[in-house]
């Protein structure tokens, strides 16, 4: 299906060009013409290998063509060249060039041949045949399966996605052994031809949501999808929102868990992250650890994350507002110590806060860009030298350093990198509002945030569920997590057609 679409697209774009191309669209039956055509198409392609040979079985002239870097040369030698050159099995049909490979197909048009070669497949041309045989021999360079360096968990499987879509799909299949796990393949990108695999449970996922996702992907017309983040930005509902509306993860166990909740996973070839939608705000605060550890601990950590969320957004703003507008709110004793530490500071609190927040953001970014060994130096320089020296030099106050440090830690405890960056971004407008209007500014900022939050959608499903629209029944797995056996329902926000999961009673429940 996907191949047919691609085929149509290619023909549509070439229609604008000369008639000649359409004429030479089909393969010719002469081996020489075909080879000449290949050589002209792939000029300046030193990794193109053309191996001419005589097939022993039929005695006809032939050529095996492949791109050397992206094919499995062992498979070609052993399973293609060897049978063709040396096997003479008269029992078979004369024209049947069976080789010992699993996947063989035939093609008769140039675009197909081109695609096949670029996909790492091997093409066999035979003299006198206007068709070519395509053998499945791709072997792109790839790294082995490792634990994801970005998302580290304690309790989950220590397996992360890598850059091969087929491997990633296999990793998810490994988690869900079910025939209802369906995979739809699509190709996106005029030049990149990125393969997307959409994974879902056919008897759980809502067909309308699936259709919406497919439609959005189909409408894309881009050169190439470099990684999953690019695709997510193209298909999300509200690009002008600071909040991420689709969940990105590098962990197959988490992706599989989301599929079981009735969500759809899009695997993007060449990207170690997959896209999960429709997402609600609460999935960005969950991690697979919450389900692996005991429920009380998990609930406590969840609450901590939401607390951290508010700290990260509002703490610097509250500091600015109280110091510059409402110092009477602070109890007297605390006010003394705050005043003492601010005594030598020549700046108003908002400038102080902005200096420190920007410094922190720069340190964070520097820590990411540098190699891990130098990264530690940045931490020492930033944390000890700048922090300590700035206080001693009387540029920022001790309290401000504490506020900034708390904010940073609070923003780092959120499991999703997208969400924690969004929070760090939202903090700055809040600080500006607080410096202009004090608490009123913070409340107005909060109102704007809520107004945006309640109207946001992810693949047309409400983003704020189960907080807005309010669904108290589903709060079992939002701010806290109740024991596993009590989580019987899939979230309403996925609009799953099969609402109830397989579930069992608590051990030693009512019956015993």
């Amino acid at each position: 299906m996907a191949f047919f679409r691609k085929y149509k697209k290619t023909s549509a774009s070439s229609a604008q060009q000369s008639q000649n191309r359409i004429k030479s669209y089909r393969l010719s039956s002469g081996l020489k013409e075909n080879l000449a055509k290949i050589q002209s198409t792939f000029c300046d392609t030193p990794d193109l290998v053309i191996r001419k040979l005589v097939i022993k079985q039929t005695g006809s002239q032939a050529a095996v063509i492949y791109l050397s870097g992206i094919t499995d040369s062992k498979a070609i030698f052993n399973n293609v060249l060897d049978p063709l050159l040396f096997k003479n099995d008269r029992e078979h049909d004369e024209a049947d060039f069976k080789v010992s490979l699993g996947h063989i197909r035939e093609a008769d048009s140039w675009p197909e041949i081109e695609d096949a070669l670029l996909n790492g497949e091997t093409v066999l041309f035979v003299e006198g045949l206007a068709e070519a045989y395509i053998y499945d021999t791709p072997k792109f360079p790839s790294r082995s399966i490792e634990d994801s360096p970005v998302e580290t968990y304690l309790a989950g499987a220590h397996v992360g996605f890598n850059e091969m879509a087929s491997v990633n799909v296999a990793l998810i299949r490994h988690q869900i052994h079910n025939r209802e796990l369906k995979i739809k393949e699509m190709t996106v990108g005029e030049r990149g031809k990125t393969k997307l695999s959409i994974l879902y449970l056919a008897d759980v996922v809502n067909p309308e949501v699936l259709k919406e996702l497919e439609n959005r992907i189909k409408q894309l017309n881009v050169d190439s999808i470099i990684n999953a983040g690019v695709l997510a930005e193209y298909i999300e509902d509200q690009p002008y929102s600071p909040l991420p509306q689709l969940l990105l993860t590098e962990r197959p166990d988490y992706a599989a868990a989301q599929i079981l909740q009735g969500r759809i996973v899009t695997v993007v070839d060449r990207s170690p992250t997959v896209i999960i939608g429709p997402a609600t705000f609460d999935v960005f605060f969950k991690s697979i650890d919450d389900y692996g550890s005991r429920w009380m601990v998990a609930s406590f950590i969840r609450l901590l994350r939401y607390f951290g969320f508010f700290i990260a957004i509002f703490l610097p703003a509250i500091y600015i507002a109280t110091i510059s507008f409402h110092f009477e709110v602070i109890p007297l004793k605390l006010l003394f110590s705050v005043g003492e530490s601010r005594e030598r500071i020549p700046f108003p609190p908002y400038i102080e806060a902005f200096i420190m927040e920007f410094t922190l953001e720069m340190l964070r970014e520097a820590g990411i860009r540098l190699p891990a060994k130098i990264g530690q130096t940045v931490g020492i320089v930033g944390g000890i030298v700048i922090g300590q020296a700035a206080v001693e030099a009387g540029i920022v106050s001790n309290i401000m350093v504490i506020v900034v440090a708390l904010t940073a830690i609070a923003s780092f405890i959120i499991p999703s990198y997208e969400m924690s960056s969004a929070i760090r971004l939202v903090r700055f407008p809040m600080m500006i509002l607080a410096s202009l209007f004090g608490f009123v500014g913070i409340v107005v900022g909060f109102m704007i945030l809520i107004g945006h939050f309640i109207s946001l959608e992810s693949l047309t499903m409400p983003y704020g569920s189960p907080a807005a629209p309010l669904r108290f029944k589903e709060w079992k797995d939002v701010f806290i997590r109740t024991p596993q056996w009590s989580l019987e329902q899939r979230p309403t926000a996925t609009k799953a057609i099969q609402k109830t999961k397989a579930h069992s009673r608590p051990p030693g429940g009512d019956d015993s």
Partner: protein, 364 residues
Amino acid sequence: MKMAKPTLTLPQYIFLIHGVQMGVGVLTLPRETAEAAGTDGWIGIVLSWVLATAASLIIIQVMKNYPKGTILDLLRHYFGKWIGIAGTILFSLYFGIMATVIFIREALFIQAWILPRTEVYILIALLSIPSYLIVRKNITILGRYSVLVFFMTVWMMIFFIIPLKQAQWLHLLPLLKEGWQPILDSVGTALFSFGGFEIAFFLYPFLQKKEKASMGIVIANTLTLFIYLIITIGAFVFFSPDEITIYNEPSIVMLKILEFRFIERLEIVFFAFYLFVISVTVLPLMYMTVYCTSQLAGEENHRRHLIWLLIIAFVYVVLVPPTFDQNKLLQRLIEQAGMVLAFAFPLCIWAYLLILRNIKRRGN
């Protein structure tokens, strides 16, 4: 992308109505009732609740005659095009003035309590931003907002219970100190605080389960009654009967005595958060205004009208710098108009529709 028709769930319907009722009234209610009936004022609140609930039920009865549309469609259907247009203009004026008055009152409160050195028009401009962002969406979003804000702010009621440590419950006794007359007077003022349920005229067609409309509106009124009673009785037993009338907003002054180890002057924080409660009153009223005007202009999208409404409010504040007295005067006027719209108007239509149905039945 297909657009589903916006709908309201029962909680959204309840909290929209309750939110519009709460508003700014709760800050001054203890003083106003005490001025009329002393510490018996709370009986007046209960009586007003009875009246308000009766009127709300009549509204639902009226709307049952034309469940597909709002009151504007109903007027057009039963009384013809011109009365429909007149009704639309009246409603949009009523909601428009009401929304603007409370919107300006919100800014005045902020100026009085938190930011004494900021101009009112700057505050109006600031408050316009979230108002625009929320009201430009549909009624479902407003419903979600009301529900969320209710649960975000309901904990604030706890702060009204803490000062009761110093309460003098004897202030409430004896009941009916001066007979029924002052209580009946206080009904007049307390009734205004229940105003707002008339938005049910516009919410009814969006409600998913229409058979629960009556129950929902009674719940909304009762919720409002409970919160009013807690705050009023709390203020009555906290202040002495003579002292309470000195303060403009006794509900907030009460919180001044609250002090924690980590926070003092709690009323400032409290008031900042209270802006959420006021916004739940103002935003639906603004939505109703622009809903009516966009119906009048025959436009699907009310965004442009909303921008104009906010600009008009801003220009008004710049040209006529508002004061509390002037704002209160306007509020009195519009509330009296509200009494007609919320009590007399549904009663008349209801009676008319009943008669109409009887005539039809007899004709058959």
